[in-house]
Symmetry: C2
Subunit: 283 residues, 2 copies
């Protein structure tokens, strides 16, 4: 791809590391890596996620800067990067929350160089060892507040996203955070609490293991996710998550009441209606 010779990735976990692999596989360029954790740098070099270690002092020379640190660090890192880049540099992040970030940088003179992106891709694993080059293939990507990005910078970003397999849609950051609270963050919390509840009662771990094939194993999968990644996400999006969790709890209480009262028809009807999720998830 013309104009792109080198890329700096800040944060070499699952997403940052996979970005490195995905880009190197498809484009002829040099990937520089920055991470607070020296072990992540070492591992990223070893696994070929990046070509060279770098630092904030060298960011100026990058054609593209990718910010893949935990969401609570993204605003400050983004400001730090925007302060030093040249006018043609594309900067984008890959975080799960977008509104606070977009607010923080909205009046920065280099706002136009930034693309607020959220690739809907991930696994329950984390760290550089979890990275793989096909993570973004055929996945959705949400770009927020695209009108605040320079058209030429946006175009460059969209081309890069497409190359690694992402299909991009557009949303406003406030709306993104509200929707993602329900569709993604609530799923993680429901799964963590399911894991916690089952482990509290089932001191006999063999029973969990023996019975896990009955739906538990897949429903609890997200409870394996990294607390380092998810604590900041839950706190960053706390207002939306609190509302979503409140609704979820109310629905559970209503369903518990139906079961306690043996309201067979209501229990049936609720499940029948919820089966509609099948149609929604069909591509």
């Amino acid at each position: 791809m013309k104009q792109i010779n080198n890329i700096t990735i800040i944060g070499l976990g699952l997403l940052g590391g996979s970005m490195g692999l995905a880009l190197k596989k498809r484009l002829n360029l040099t990937i520089y890596g920055i991470d607070n954790n020296p072990k992540h740098i070492e591992k990223a070099l070893q696994l070929g996620l990046i070509d060279q270690k770098s630092s904030f002092d060298n960011i100026q020379q990058s054609d593209v800067v990718i910010i893949a640190v935990p969401v609570n660090k993204i605003p400050e890192v983004t400001l730090k990067v925007l302060n030093v880049i040249t006018e043609n540099t594309l900067v984008f992040d890959v975080g799960s929350t977008k509104h606070n970030l977009c607010k923080t940088i909205e009046s920065h003179p280099k706002r136009g160089n930034f693309v607020a992106a959220h690739p809907i891709a991930g696994t329950e694993f984390s760290g550089p060892e979890a990275a793989f080059d096909s993570l973004f293939e055929n996945k959705k990507n949400i770009v927020c507040n695209a009108s605040e990005t320079h058209p030429s910078i946006l175009e460059k970003a969209l081309t890069l996203f497409k190359i690694i397999g992402l299909q991009t849609d557009f949303m406003e950051s406030e709306s993104h955070d509200k929707h993602i609270a329900y569709v993604s963050h609530l799923s993680h919390i429901s799964s963590f609490m399911l894991g916690k509840t089952v482990m509290q009662i089932e001191k006999d771990e063999q029973s969990i293991f023996n019975m896990a094939g009955s739906g538990f194993e897949s429903t609890v999968r997200l409870a394996k996710s990294s607390p380092e990644t998810w604590t900041p996400i839950f706190l960053e999006n706390k207002t939306n998550i609190s509302i979503a969790l409140g609704e979820y709890i109310r629905n559970l209480q209503a369903f518990k009441m139906m079961i306690d009262n043996e309201q067979k028809n209501e229990v049936y009807k609720m499940m029948k209606e919820t089966n509609h999720i099948k149609d929604i998830l069909k591509s």
Copy 2:
């Protein structure tokens, strides 16, 4: 397998149908099928799940009778079958709840011919079309109150289970129903309520679809399950499920409070502890 020439399966859905396919693939025998729904019979014949249609009048001639009807029908169907079988017939069910069933039949003169089984196998799909011959391969199976079955009948059952790939463990029926309420039934309810909550808020179905890859799709999978199968299970095991649901709701409320109060360390700690589920689920 000696002594087994024909098997009757009552209830030709996912489990009954898959039993037919799994057995026919591995043994040379004739499978008879019974189902209230004439369309299920027709489909089961068409798909080769069974060899011939049968009726309760012919059950006496069966070497093995498998009961795979919804759990609320299992006790009455089991009594009906036990009333007519000969002394060498093996009868087993495949239902998700066991205590009420075992209580109902405990003093029946043919109790020794019966094995209360729960193969921990299934998918979110249902009906004869959902059946497949490898459903039970490398899956766990729980047999309840095994001491109430004649040793020779139990041995025959264990051999059959092994042939189709099931690894059998033993439990008392009361304990089974309590454990399965947490590990399986609660997972289904958490998933149904997640689907309901997200659909309530997300009138914009495109957002659900676009963001589903973020953990929602796998966590909500069980909300595609059949209300015909699950309504009776939830009501049959209502006491245990109500306790499990109460605990789950309390944990969600406590977590919501932590998020509302921005108790970062508590949120982190709770997730870190729950990550232990990784070790439990490792084989």
